[in-house]
Symmetry: C2
Subunit: 304 residues, 2 copies
């Protein structure tokens, strides 16, 4: 058990309100005055969640996008957000960060409502948190609602952002669609809103397809088999589609496509790719071209 | 203009929703489904907002208390909060932090609903943010509503926390009521709820009486005269009540008493100390024993 898992166990003792969902989902669901609020918060730290050399406008965009993605996965409409920002000591950097953040907020109609700005001691790594509020527009799909027999779908391919990050680590000036996928993820708000009334379970794929599918299965008390790993044309053109590339794509994080469970008889109301199915039992099985493949040691991005 | 002020100017361009109050109050006021939500967020950084040697349980308590104090100043009932926490690498420290945070949350009926936990690179200063949601139970007093002729009141004395901090800086093992005031501030939730329907303006005194009174006057387009600086018996016993001590108390931060404006004919519904009055015009005047005193160069804690 990691230090973060032990900390989370202590946090759960404080999070004993039903709205907290036992901290087992990416969001809290709070009922207030007839509305259901969806609450989520994400922190990004330089050198941990992004490369120190990433352009500040992209980091600002991404901080907004990852929070919006959590709202999207619950079919929620963005209401607003609060920013906690540690001034970096470089005003043009800070201004560019805000420009990218503002672009993502404007694009998705999420106003900035408040927050707090602090000075960090010299030499501290940059860090920033955004807390987003959304309003549920219908049923709120959680992680744990999948049923045996449900199909598992993705709203798009996986692996682009992970390979984009890999490219940047060896070629800092790399560009193109894979780098864009890493730096400017697009939250699937429209898709989430259309899907929410129909799905049994939904979450965004922020840590990797394998680990996030395993989490959905565990929360639902089911087994899941992944039988297809969708790759983008850009990824195939760069890396091919070998088993190794498919496995790498399935354990890469930062994609922010929606992962959802739907009864086999229901056609998804948005463009979606079937990637697996749920069954009674437990655990994760990975098949490529119909053949079961040993799982990699690390399924995806595990915090801590 | 400081780097923080310039950053705030850029932030205001993004905060163009009426709920953001132009980032000129400590809170946002968001109407959702018939409820009015009060939103606030505070970040604390080791070495900036607290001493590195402060006990972790007290830091956790204080992070909750400063956010609750912002809710108190708007007469709001706590609904819940989200914690952004950077693991310190010291598990017993983190556990003690959560214990103090949990104590303050339980005492004031504010459930933890979610948040995000991250690992910071080794050697980074500790930092933590809390975002609190409250629900308005009646009119929401802002900073800018004082009227000419209003009396200005405080719910308690000022200076205890500031002198407590000073004591700790020279005597790290100091204890007693002044140190307690610095480490375990008490948010005035009950007082705030009783005051909110009656006051013209209200805020908590987090940065110092002089600067916060000047801000209330400026936001209200008025002049304010402070004619009394209330000291606690503990502070007087430690430092006396000379003009120098009174001025130090009036520019010390971290007190978290409520500062409010009430028509001269209205008796405050809670125990409160009259400290000044508003008049047409602008600016801040300080009087001690009826005599105008030159203002200190620095009125209080100015961020950035």
């Amino acid at each position: 058990m990691s230090a973060e898992s032990r900390f989370l166990t202590l946090l759960r003792l404080l999070a004993n309100d039903p709205a907290a969902q036992g901290l087992r989902d990416d969001v809290a669901v709070l009922e207030v005055g007839g509305a259901r609020l969806i609450l989520t918060s994400d922190t990004m730290v330089e050198g941990v969640h992004h490369l120190p050399a990433d352009p500040p406008a992209d980091i600002g965009w991404k901080l907004a996008a990852v929070n919006l993605s959590d709202l999207a996965a619950k079919g929620a409409k963005p209401l607003g957000c609060l920013l906690n920002y540690a001034l970096s000591g470089d005003e043009s950097w800070d201004a560019a960060f805000l420009e990218g953040l503002g672009e993502a907020l404007a694009r998705h109609a999420m106003p900035l409502l408040g927050g707090d700005t602090v000075q960090m001691p010299r030499g501290a790594p940059r860090s920033y948190s955004l807390t987003a509020l959304g309003e549920a527009t219908g049923p709120v799909p959680l992680r744990g609602g999948a049923k045996a027999g449900d199909r598992l779908y993705l709203t798009g391919p996986v692996g682009d952002a992970g390979i984009g990050l890999e490219l940047l680590q060896t070629m800092p000036r790399a560009s193109g669609p894979l780098v864009d996928a890493y730096r400017r993820p697009r939250p699937r708000l429209a898709e989430g809103a259309l899907l929410a009334p129909h799905v049994h379970a939904m979450m965004d794929v922020s840590d990797g397809l394998l680990i996030d599918a395993a989490r959905m299965a565990e929360a639902s008390g089911l087994a899941v088999t992944i039988d297809h790993i969708p790759l983008s044309p850009a990824l195939e053109a760069t890396r091919g589609a070998s088993n190794a590339v498919q496995i790498a794509a399935a354990r890469a994080g930062d994609d922010y496509e929606l992962l959802f469970a739907l009864p086999a008889a229901v056609k998804p109301p948005v463009r979606a790719i079937p990637v697996g199915r749920f069954a009674k039992g437990g655990g994760l099985t990975l098949k490529i071209d119909g053949v079961a493949i040993p799982l990699p040691d690390r399924l995806g991005w595990e915090h801590g």
